[in-house]
């Protein structure tokens, strides 16, 4: 058992405490999910478990922490590493060696373990995580999910009783994330390993967790317990739980499987998929001018959805077009004959596994990567021969890591530098930089040092830096990485605003819930080529993927809950249910057994 008894902690030279009077008990052999908004102290809490806080971080710690019979503060990470394995968010930042087997043995070599014992332990973790096929591979050749499984295996080499993971799936596509989580579940169920995992995307992890801890941002008490009880007390919940709350389902469903039992109890005609209208949410941002949102929403689902055609709200042609684009690195094809068109006022989502070529496609569109074949057209002009800077005056491209963009002293300076690079005077742009920052919710951060901002704020500062020239097209690469639900809602509102402003948006993401909320058109990239494209309803709403009859890995929770209805979001479901001829709240006890 792990206990936090009135634990408070402040980092050096920071006045606000990262943890404030935390009282918490984590059960042995449980799979515990730690959630909460950004800055709530999740990472700090995890680092307390192996003594990294305060031994590595410095700072002032008050209260008592016990990990079983051990005191991590007294023992420090050198001793605690044998009891608590730790896996970080980005596996690449924790690797020392260059080959899988050497990486697994690294900690054991440092502990001066006899060679025979090392061999036994390395083989053991390879068996546990089914890594035999990767054993002799170079780490540089592995996918994100494979790297994360190697990081987990390396953390388990000491046979710890507890495994702590800090957002281990945040950079993974849904399938890779599921592989990692299934591996963790197996370790938890079969070996009794205590798993403690922090993650923003609750919908991913909740199906595997049997305990949930919610750390609030303010100095409110920590909420912890079984997931459905905790979810009932907090606002940041996955879609299936949000729906359950609205419809009064009890106990609250945590997973799609649990939600499905309630659905089965609903009358058939209630979920027959009547016409619904999908509304754009406006969350956390200043209101748009009256009349900015068209009276007729641009697309409807399912009856009014543009299933295979891409009719736009006006007659304008595409702003950015790729025709038969092929890209190769060292002769190895990465993109093959990819054609894509981005229309004003439309949000196109690009989905696909890690390594499918999504980021390469974005780079090829703006000219950062040369293409061997095909062409790119921007507002009717072919871009070959155009400088990247000239393309990017009309195309805002936000790369995966916004940190690469930020270097100025203040957020406002970042915008001025972009304008200066493009040879544009501040007076020539509308809105002016300050107004743009205000529209992005950064008005109070104008003079802040960009790298001191939170993940979501940094992303919006980087966005402002590329948007200041008022480009007609916006390309976003994994924009929800590391964002909490609140920051994600802000991003969603921005995307909807761009649609209203008639910008073309291309969204590369693994976040299918975001795609369900935001996208008008979905393109699925696989192995460097377009595997499928169509409306979100067509591609996300069916349990099988295309004609292959393979399970669709891109279904949002609502589509899984109501397959075949075309409902992708909670708002879709509620609108559909309201317009249904029969709407009766289902039985609170769907099993029909004990009450």
């Amino acid at each position: 058992m792990i206990t936090f008894d009135h634990v408070s902690f402040s980092y050096p030279e920071v006045t606000l405490p990262a943890l404030h009077d935390v009282n918490l008990t984590l059960l042995e052999s449980a799979f515990t999910l730690i959630s909460g908004p950004s800055g709530a102290g999740k990472t700090t809490l995890l680092r307390c478990l192996n003594g990294l806080v305060p031994h590595f971080s410095g700072g002032v710690l008050a209260g008592q922490i016990r990990v079983g019979d051990l005191d991590p503060v007294a023992l420090g990470p050198e001793v605690m590493c044998r009891h608590v394995g730790f896996v970080f968010q980005d596996p690449e930042t924790q690797f020392v060696m260059d080959y899988v087997e050497d990486e697994l043995a690294f900690a054991l070599e440092n502990a001066a373990m006899p060679r025979a014992e090392m061999r036994s332990r390395v083989s053991e973790v390879i068996d546990l995580l089914d890594l035999e096929a990767l054993r002799y591979r170079s780490l540089a050749t592995l996918s994100g999910g494979e790297k994360q499984r190697i990081a987990i295996a390396a953390a388990l080499a000491f046979r710890p009783q507890i495994l702590v993971l800090d957002e281990p799936t945040s950079q993974l596509d849904p399938r890779s994330a599921r592989e990692v989580l299934e591996a963790l579940e197996r370790l938890n169920r079969e070996l009794g390993l205590t798993v403690i995992l922090a993650e923003h995307r609750l919908e991913r992890v909740l199906p595997f967790a049997d305990r949930l801890v919610y750390l609030p941002a303010a100095e409110a008490p920590v909420v912890h317990g079984v997931p459905d009880e905790v979810l009932g007390q907090i606002d940041l919940v996955p879609p299936v739980t949000a729906l359950g709350k609205v419809l009064g389902w009890s106990p609250l469903p945590v997973t799609v499987a649990e939600g499905r039992r309630f659905c089965e109890a609903m009358p058939g005609e209630t979920i027959s998929g009547p016409d619904i209208v999908r509304q754009a949410p406006q969350v956390g941002l200043p209101a748009l001018p009256t009349g900015a949102i068209p009276s007729q929403p641009k697309w409807q689902s399912p009856a009014g959805a543009p299933t295979q055609d891409r009719e736009c709200s006006d007659d304008s042609g595409p702003t950015l077009v790729a025709e038969g684009l092929s890209v190769a690195y060292n002769g190895k094809p990465v993109l093959m004959d990819v054609s894509l068109a981005l229309y004003p006022g439309q949000v196109t989502a690009l989905l696909g596994r890690n390594g499918a070529g999504k980021s390469t496609l974005l780079k090829a569109l703006v000219g950062l990567v040369p293409h061997q074949d095909g062409s790119v057209w921007l507002s009717g002009r072919e871009t070959s021969g155009m400088a990247v800077a000239d393309v990017c005056r009309e195309v805002a491209y936000l790369p995966q890591d916004p940190n690469a963009l930020l270097f100025a002293e203040t957020v406002l300076d970042e915008l001025h530098i972009t304008l200066r690079n493009h040879g544009v005077m501040v007076a020539e742009v509308e809105p002016v930089p300050e107004a743009l920052l205000e529209s992005l919710g950064l008005v109070h951060k104008v003079t802040a040092y960009p790298r001191d901002l939170s993940v979501g704020e940094r992303q919006r500062a980087a966005l402002a830096a590329v948007l200041v020239t008022q480009p007609s097209t916006v390309l976003l690469d994994e924009p929800t990485r590391g964002l909490d639900y609140d920051a994600k809602d802000r991003l969603l509102a921005l995307i909807h605003r761009w649609r209203v402003e008639q910008r073309a948006v291309l969204l590369v993401t693994h976040d299918v819930e975001l795609v369900a909320e935001a996208a008008d058109w979905v393109v699925i990239l696989d192995g460097g080529g377009i595997a499928a494209e169509g409306s979100p309803v067509d591609l996300l709403g069916t349990p099988v993927f295309g004609d292959s009859q393979a399970a669709n890995p891109f279904m949002p929770q609502m589509a899984s809950l109501f397959p075949g209805t075309g409902w992708l979001t909670v708002a879709d479901v509620l609108a559909g249910l309201r317009s249904s001829p029969v709407l009766s709240p289902p039985s609170p006890n769907p099993g029909g057994g004990e009450s």
Binding site: H55, V96, E109, T141, S143, V334, A387, A389, L405, N421
Partner: protein, 353 residues
């Protein structure tokens, strides 16, 4: 190939490169190293597809192409020597002697010698690049004395860190390009340099934290035992004494003895300090007959160089002359291609299996 065989190859390659200024031999060595590198790279590409998971080029060993380095180093060496060395008889022109450092005669001999020095530098760089490409990180650190284990780990991290930094630099350059950034002057490096520096520090901190979480540094010795400390001080005194003796006519003959004793004592200090470092090795490389053949081939390459001193030497000073080429030495140098033959041989064996 066994790491020690690789180290023998590198030692031989470096020695023969440094022993001569004859451009014909150096060019031959450079071509041999490029061929060995090419075979090694082709072999690695065959096993890993030569690229990262996302299809982007894998960076290890390819940070800076030797040919690209040659394009910079040879002209730079030639120009630097032309301007700073005023030896030689074939005078291009004279700069006023009042100009510090570069004032004086600028000669063809200085230009040629500088270019040859640049070529030596490029050839050495290529030999080390081959080793970096061929050996995994574990082998690079496994043969560093135990006393320097933490230093070895830092070196290993540097080896893996550099490609990441290059990748990050590429990301930052791309990110700045999409903001309309163009290079005009040295001040324009700031948008590239600052994010790379800050990002590098952040990654270093993350890695340090991850290593701490895995127990690295636990129980490390922070001070030397008295025996090691005394040996180290006495050894340093011996080496220093050798230097002083060399300068004193009456003691000059004793300098080698001082040097030997000093080196031995320092070796004892390092060995003793290493005993306190608790560390084991997961792998024990196995020595095969091919490793012996590589070492023999290295011997064939270096021994003629040590015997026929006159043949290897060349100097443009005081007069330019066409360098001689001794077939015995040139033929011996081909022994340094042994790793390429071993790699090809082992791949063919694997194919048959």
């Amino acid at each position: 190939m066994h790491p020690l065989a690789w180290f023998a190859w590198l030692g031989t390659a470096s020695l023969v490169t440094l022993l001569t200024r004859n451009p014909l031999y150096i060019v031959l060595l450079f071509v041999i190293f490029i061929l060995v590198m090419d075979v090694e790279r082709a072999s690695q590409r065959a096993s890993t597809d030569g690229s990262g998971y996302d299809g982007a080029p894998s960076d290890r060993g390819l940070l800076l192409s030797p040919l690209r380095f040659a394009l910079f180093a040879i002209p730079a060496g030639a120009v630097f020597n032309l301007l700073t060395s005023h030896m030689g008889e074939t005078v291009f022109f004279r700069l006023p002697p009042a100009i510090p450092l570069i004032g004086g005669t600028l000669t063809a001999e200085a230009l040629v010698y500088g270019a040859i020095s640049g070529l030596v530098l490029v050839t050495l760089f290529t030999a080390f690049a081959v080793l970096n490409l061929a050996l995994p990180v574990r082998d690079l650190i496994a043969y560093i004395p135990r006393a320097f284990y933490p230093v070895a780990i830092v070196s290993a991290i540097a080896v893996t860190f550099v490609p990441n930094t290059v990748r990050q630099f590429r990301q930052v350059r791309e990110a700045q390009a999409i903001r309309g950034y163009k290079m005009h002057g040295w001040r324009d490096w700031l948008p590239l340099f600052l994010p790379v520096l800050v990002g590098g520090l952040e990654r270093a901190l993350q890695l340090a934290e991850a290593m701490t979480a895995r127990g690295f540094g636990g129980g490390a010795r922070t001070h030397l035992a008295p025996v090691a400390r005394i040996s180290l001080v006495a050894g340093l005194a011996g080496v220093l004494g050798a230097g002083v003796a060399q300068l004193t006519p009456t003691w000059a003959s004793a300098a080698p003895a001082f040097l030997t004793v000093g080196a031995l004592l320092m070796g004892v200090a390092i060995w003793h300090a290493g005993r306190g470092v608790k560390h084991t090795r997961y792998r024990r490389p196995v020595w095969h007959s091919v490793d012996t053949s590589v070492v023999v081939a290295c011997g064939i390459a270096v021994v003629p160089f040590l015997i026929w001193v006159e043949s290897r030497s060349y100097s443009p000073y005081p007069a330019l002359a066409w360098p001689l080429f001794d077939l015995r030495l040139g033929g011996g140098l081909l022994g340094l291609m042994a790793p390429a033959f071993v790699r090809r041989f082992s791949e063919q064996s694997d194919d048959h299996i």
